[in-house]
């Protein structure tokens, strides 16, 4: 099952805003194809909190081995809009 990734983008952004409310003003202008963890200076605790939220909201496990390719908003949205591979 696949949904439109662009429909998932707002969920990703709101997960970031929930974990880091101070960054909300910056999210509007955020480039969706750059490494936002670095850009927004999010640390490993933020990473864990955001991934936990997204995992809970989508019901999808996000194994650590997938972390390295989940660095941009678009990559995350695409990943989350695709169901687990079977």
């Amino acid at each position: 099952m696949t949904t439109d990734p662009s429909a998932v983008v707002p969920m990703v952004l709101s997960a970031i805003a929930e974990v880091a409310p101070e960054l909300e003003p910056e999210l509007a202008d955020l480039d969706h194809d750059i490494d936002f963890w670095l850009e927004l200076q999010l640390d490993s605790m933020d990473h864990l909190s955001i991934m936990t939220r997204l995992s809970e909201q989508t019901g999808r496990e996000i194994p650590e081995r997938d972390y390295p390719r989940l660095t941009t908003i678009n990559a995350l949205a695409t990943y989350l809009s695709t169901s687990d591979a079977h």
Partner: protein, 424 residues
């Protein structure tokens, strides 16, 4: 039976750099029965908004200050009536085993709050009142723990009525008295308007400036560093986390906390306080964690008895502390009683830190960014994930030899994993 006495709960000092605050919100109402560990109020300090916990059981009688009123540390804020003679230590059996737990030496052994401990004992001068010290004593009799807690909270022992052997002040007396001396701080900045949940960066900077200046002024620091090979730990964590749901995964920082706590438990000379020109070792190992706040500044809540906790317990405590720090819901018990501090620079941070100790502690451990480095194993050079662990220590309390042994112990825990994985 006579009516139980009342006692006043005073605004505690939530760190050496705090000398005033404002009540933002009451979390209890007159008539409520409260138990040790319950949150009484949300208090605004320069650094953060903090949930203030009650130290012992009682029934709320009245509020003694207004919402938004600026009050000094030590000001009575709530009047309570004691409950019977034997309050149940319910807080220790509460559902949150993580960071909030209060240290075990509870107040349960001496439970009836004597009026003397809580009435304005301010007039008493050191050594003078017959009630609190045997004649001839120029030093107020007190248990080592009480002495340490008093130093931590800024309480003058001479103003506390002791109920221990020979009138010695014990920990419980301090909990009852909650008589806090405003820290003799230097410059003060105005705190932000009461209704505002976030502190201005300027006032937090002022608080940090005061404390760090005091540290650099008073503490002769020495600094040590040691590179640690985290290859084994990284591999173990990867494997462990691979088949676990996201909520059960461990971050390296949990391992750092446990490694530091285990090393501190074995090297007690670095775990405690410099008070009254001598070192007081602490009974517990309460590791404070430096958490930077995005709007600027930092806070350092602690994980109590970290050496007694498993990695999983430490991880959930860290998650709770970081979440609370960043949402302004820190609890007062996390903010007092730390015995040494850990600062973790994270993977986007610098390679190493020469830390500044947070008085009255005598040690600060720093863990730098983990980065791939050439490393000699046997006769071969290989590339390994290396982190530089540093120690800033108080030269009045220890010498470099002890610091080196401590760092070696931290390195050993992180490289061998023998004790790290073991359940507490």
């Amino acid at each position: 039976m006579t009516e139980p006495p009342t006692f006043d709960y005073r605004l505690p000092s939530l760190g050496a750099d705090m000398d005033e605050g404002r009540v933002l919100e009451w979390r209890v109402s007159p008539g409520d029965t409260v138990h040790r560990g319950d949150i009484m109020a949300v208090v605004e300090t320069e650094k953060s908004d903090i949930d203030i916990e009650i130290w012992h059981d009682g029934v709320v009688e009245s509020f003694l200050v207004d919402i938004g009123e600026r009050i000094d540390v030590g000001t009575p804020i709530v009047r309570l009536r004691a409950v019977g003679d034997a309050p149940e230590p319910t807080a220790t059996a509460g559902p949150t085993p993580a960071a909030g737990s209060i240290t075990p030496e509870s107040i349960t052994s001496e439970t009836s709050p004597p009026a003397g401990g809580v009435t304005p004992a301010r007039a008493a001068t050191r050594g003078a009142p017959a009630i609190s010290a045997p004649a001839g004593a120029d030093r107020v009799p007190a248990s080592p723990l009480a002495r340490r807690v008093a130093a931590e909270r800024g309480i003058d022992l001479a103003t506390v009525t002791g109920t221990g052997p020979g009138g010695a002040v014990v920990r419980a007396d301090l909990d009852r008295a909650e008589h806090v001396r405003p820290d003799a701080g230097a410059g003060r900045a105005d705190v932000a308007p009461a209704a505002q949940r976030s502190r201005s960066v300027a006032s937090m900077r002022s608080a940090i400036a005061e404390r760090m200046s005091r540290s650099n002024r008073e503490i002769p620091h020495y600094h040590l560093a040691r590179d640690v090979d985290l290859g084994r730990l990284t591999g173990w964590l990867e494997q462990r986390n691979a088949d676990r749901p996201i909520t059960e995964r461990l971050l390296p920082v949990a391992c750092y906390v446990r490694a530091v706590a285990l090393a501190a438990a074995r090297h007690r000379e670095l775990n405690g306080f410099w008070v009254d020109d001598h070192f007081e070792p602490a009974d517990e190992v309460n590791v404070a964690m430096v958490i930077s706040l995005r709007r600027g500044g930092l806070v350092a809540p602690h994980i109590a008895s970290a050496d007694q906790r498993t990695l999983e317990e430490i991880m959930s405590a860290i998650t709770e502390l970081v979440g609370a720090a960043r949402t302004g819901t820190l609890r007062s018990s996390w903010m007092t009683g730390s015995t040494l501090t850990l600062t973790n620079l994270g993977d986007t941070g610098a390679d190493l830190v020469h830390g500044v100790i947070s008085p009255p502690e005598v040690a600060l451990v720093g863990v730098g960014r983990t980065r791939p480095r050439p490393w000699v194993v046997g006769d071969l050079v290989s590339v390994r994930p290396i982190a530089t662990v540093t120690l800033a220590a108080d030269h009045r309390a220890t010498d470099g030899a002890i610091g080196s042994r401590f760092l070696a112990a931290v390195a050993d825990e992180l490289e061998q994993l023998t004790n790290l994985e073991a359940s507490a």
